[in-house]
């Protein structure tokens, strides 16, 4: 299984992914073997069913949304490049990256890109605003069935009220960033991949 994985992934591809996402060689190969183990159909791409087969994801309240985040707009399959691109958001931010060429595009795991990823999980219709309904949906998923709609509604109202600075009763991306400025996003949204 391991040897098959390394022959299917060409060196140039690894280099490209490395440049795009910043992962190291060993991380990429490791994640590639994970990718192939999930890929039951063995066609080099993952479908939604492949993800749903992961047992812990089924009990995760945000499971469906996370799965959707991997698939680009309107598509049903994700290849390894797309897989890595999404996972790159969760790479820990390293100090030496901050000194890189400022004209180069922002790395995928920068603080604002991490926040944008989280924001997009709330904002399903991609209108760059979290509306009250979208917030309610997420709250409902996280809180379970015991709480009445009214209670949830008032929590949602309160949340929006706290965050909303321009009075449109929606949370824009800027307001989202502002509300989370005290939260240590670099640590909260990073997974320690093996070096």
């Amino acid at each position: 299984m391991g040897s098959r994985a390394s022959t299917l992934l060409r060196e140039e591809e690894i280099e490209e992914i490395k440049k795009e996402t910043g992962f190291s060689h060993s991380q990429i190969t490791r994640l590639y073997s994970r990718f192939t183990s999930l890929d039951k159909g063995e066609n080099g791409t993952l479908s939604r069913e492949d993800f749903q087969r992961i047992p812990e994801l089924a009990i995760n309240p945000l499971g469906d949304r996370i799965i959707n985040a991997f698939f680009p707009e309107g598509e049903d399959q994700v290849n390894f490049r797309g897989f890595m691109r999404t996972l790159a958001h969760f790479r820990p931010i390293e100090d030496n990256e901050k000194n890189k060429n400022p004209t180069a595009s922002e790395p995928l795991n920068s603080r604002s890109n991490k926040l944008l990823f989280a924001f997009r999980l709330y904002d399903l219709d991609r209108d760059d605003k979290i509306s009250r309904d979208e917030l309610l949906q997420v709250l409902r998923m996280m809180v379970g069935v015991n709480i009445s709609d009214e209670q949830l509604g008032s929590i949602a109202d309160r949340t929006i009220q706290e965050a909303d600075t321009n009075g449109d009763s929606c949370i824009s991306f800027q307001e989202f960033i502002k509300v989370l400025e005290k939260v240590d996003v670099e640590q909260k949204m990073s997974i320690r991949f093996l070096h």
Binding site: Y122, T159, F193
Partner: protein, 665 residues
Amino acid sequence: MMAKMRFVRRVSSLPEFGLLLLVIFVLLEGSLLPLGAASSTSKSCEEAKQGHTEVHNFTKKAFPVLGVDYGHIKNPFEISLWVLLACLMKLGFHLIPRLSSIVPESCLLIVVGLLVGGLIKLAREEVPPVLDSKFFFLYLLPPIILDAGYFLPIRPFMENLGTILMFAVIGTLWNAFFIGGLLYGICQISNSDLTAIGILPCLLFGSIISAVDPVAVLAVFEEIHINELLHILVFGESLLNDAVTVVLYHLFEEFSVDGSVTVLDGILGVISFLVVALGGVLFGAMYGFLAALTSRFTSHTRVIEPLFAFLYSYMAYLSAEVFHLSGIMALIACGAVMRPYIEANISHKSHTTIKYFLKMLSSVSETLIFIFLGVATVDGRHSWNWIFVTMSVVLCLVARVIGVVGLTFIINKFRIVKLTTKDQFIIAYGGLRGAIAFSLGFLLKEDHFHMRDMFLTAIITVIFFTVFVQGMTIKPLVELLAVKKKQEAKRSINEEIHTQFLDHLLTGIEDICGHYGHHHWKDKLNRFNKKYVKKFLIVSERSKEPQLIAFYHKMEMKQAIQLVESGGGSKLPSAVPSTVSMQNIQPKNPPATTKPAERVLPQLSKGREEEIRKILRSNLQRTRQRLHSYNRHTLVADPYEDGFSDLILKKQRMMAIDKKVHNPR
């Protein structure tokens, strides 16, 4: 004009003057009464004897209208006097604002202790054994540790647990061996009578002096309001190194008597460390669960609820000490384990009682400890040896710096958020030693350790150096280095929601990667907790409440209380037409057994909730959040301090609007 100003100034200093008089009075009382007692006890003895002879001789004596019997109440009186003195000192410091901002309270208290010790020595030549190690470890230390453990911020603690353990265990070991070893070498090199000190007593000394002290750290760090990460790192280290200290101390103490250490002893030492640490935690967790379980059944006897929290924790400490396990870790574990369940079960008032009582006890304890440290310094027999004492101070500093730098180098390879040089400096500089080191030194038996006095002198010097020099300079240094300060933690509901959201997200991503990391296990633990533990330990109606809702309720409750207390809210300009009809508001039927005096129930009927929410929604000015305060002086943002004036303004405005509404013109 000038006369008026002078008069005003004198008047403003009057309360301080009065306080000074009060303190002097108390001191006089404390020193004179015992002197009077010495003579009165003999008198009462004679009287008793006379009384007996009287019975036989039937000679009538006048009935004593007023008598003095000091010996009867001597001990409680002295204790109360000390506590009173400590509290008056605390009051005094805060009346002099400039002083308390430059000099940390701990330093002032030690100075006071020195003065008082000096006074007592002049007056009586016999200082009561105040810093008796037993008294210290059994009565003074537990409240502080319980306070720390109960209010320990679990999340940052767990997230940094690896780092904290590294510093606590390996850092302390490094310190102990480095200091002990080098001191031995120096003693051998020096040509004085220091050469008589063996390697084992030196190592023992090293292990006593190497541990960072939680009391001192708490006292200093609370005043500098440093950011949460550094605070929890240094503080966590000071708490967890107790296990190491206990093992090393007993190890070297035993073997100093025997005279040799073998490899087997070393291995036994390691095993002993694991037993001490894990055993302590286990004891604490056990008692914590018992406390949580007990609190489930206290709905009918709310008055004694806080007592359970204190008693179980104290028993955990004592039980751990019976087996020479780490009592500190037992206390921390007990407090941390029982807190979420107890808070879900007990009434709002009991919760406040626990909080205030803990803060009060720990505050008094801390004050007493520092005063006694000063007194014991004056009283103790000292044996000053330039080389030994100065080298201990120097070596302490050097060992700490090397230890921190070295460990950070290793730790940073595993951390997501690396520790910067500034962080390392603060961690190294914040390694204060305190009363625990002194008490451990005090416990050394004189006959086994003939250099005990010199050790004590050295320990006291190190403590003074760290508390005075490092304690006083750390605040300006923090400013100078522009270290990140503690954010006034207004934990908004946004942060709460989004943090939970991110937790779920990260757990999902970890599962996709097949990576059993931090989040995975935390999620598993939470699930287990929700499914089994909560049902067992929390009163049935509240066990199903999701964390978000509980948080939200708490916040609203607090705001509602504050709003009602400030007097607003009864008459509302209804800008928003009320959609809730009055029929929906049904008063909850209080269960017959609940006392009617119990006002605030965390659980409200739907109608009542709506009312509160309506009030808040239209009245929300500034969200007052729960302060995660590490500061012992302020627990909750006092609504009467800040914002009271604008609350009054708002009320006036509301009444004006009301008038307008009722008299449309």
